[in-house]
Symmetry: C2
Subunit: 218 residues, 2 copies
């Protein structure tokens, strides 16, 4: 059987989200470069895969998928074993906790943290636009509130969805990784349980391997 | 068995997303008012349910959930029957299509359409702030591109995930409903398959019932 193909590059956060899941389940996959910086996501062949012209896309035989969280869930379902079960869909309450904290990442954490990454790393490098400090300061204010909720939660739970690692945790990796390369990484020092949770994620072989291809200096 | 409790009001889009799923599966539920306009989502008893101080929350016995898409999935899994299966998780490829278009709603459609609703309805009513026409115009430009992709897709597929209704379709209901009360509703006229799809959704008993409690004039 030919391996699944992932279109994109590890440097892109949404591609990294998918790659780390493929590594966690030990799937055979092929990474096909679509260079965002060169605009290749708008090529006709890529738009055929993802009509919104974004990365990643995944091809598994006849099936073509886009949207990183949907692709990641597909991968985690397809290669699920009793040892590696990162969605927990055999338990309706555990699956709900995984879904809930996956949504918290998308709806609360990402909107608060990502502008700092955009302003300090992505915009200056990709567009040559200087950092907008007002946006950074407002985002840090929101992020402190979010991290306060996480700290309280992770004081009582080892991982976000409970006492087991899940997709909800992994989904936080790509943007948090780049945040740690901004001048504001030390913010996490004030939230010791969040910091320990993050360090635990960073010690996972899947995340070590994928983050090695995510440069933070240009 | 006591019915599940939903905390919030139907007027709130994220609450409406959950209620419509409860109606679709025919579940017995109790709606407990948490008045967003009166700031009740920040009361200690509600923050106990949702530490981010937002609606909705759901209580089912010991289980307390927040984040509307996670709650909706829990409801659709719990009350799934062979007739009403809106997540299609028994088929890995169908589930992937449901997840993908649910993510498209959250990541592409909502960011393009919701600012128009905020600027034309929510901000003027809730905060007494006049419409920012620049934001509206920029959002309409994005929305045209998104609706163009939807039109091409719905020309070939009856529903978003394929030939079956799913959570991906329903998840579009609350914000689209309010969009149709803005001065820009006629935009949908240019996308006949999208318009027909929307009219199909609006004819569903679940959506008729919940939208009856979503006022568009104040």
């Amino acid at each position: 059987m030919s391996p699944v193909k992932v279109f994109g590059r590890a440097i892109s956060t949404n591609v990294a989200r998918v790659l780390v899941c493929l590594e966690e389940v030990g799937a055979d996959y092929e990474l096909v470069s679509v260079d965002f910086l060169a605009g290749e996501q708008n090529s006709p062949e890529h738009v055929e895969r993802n009509p919104f012209g974004k990365v990643p896309a995944l091809q598994d035989g006849e099936l073509v998928l886009f949207e990183s969280r949907a692709i990641a869930k597909y991968v985690l379902r397809k290669y699920r074993t009793s040892e590696v079960d990162l969605l927990r869909e055999s338990s309706i309450s555990e699956a709900a906790m995984v879904d809930m904290w996956t949504e918290v990442e998308a709806q609360q954490y990402y909107p608060a943290l990502s502008p700092v990454v955009y302003e300090c790393i992505i915009f200056p490098v990709m567009r040559g636009v200087p950092t907008d400090q007002k946006v950074v300061d407002e985002s840090l204010e929101k992020l402190r509130k979010v991290l306060g909720v996480y700290e309280a939660h992770l004081t009582k739970n080892r991982f976000l969805a409970g006492d087991f690692i899940s997709f909800a945790d992994l989904s936080h990796f790509p943007f948090t990784f780049y945040f740690m390369a901004t001048p504001y990484a030390s913010l996490f020092e004030s939230y010791p349980h969040v910091k320990a949770w993050w360090e635990g994620l960073m010690s996972r072989p899947s995340i070590k391997k994928i983050s090695a291809n995510m440069p933070t200096k240009f």
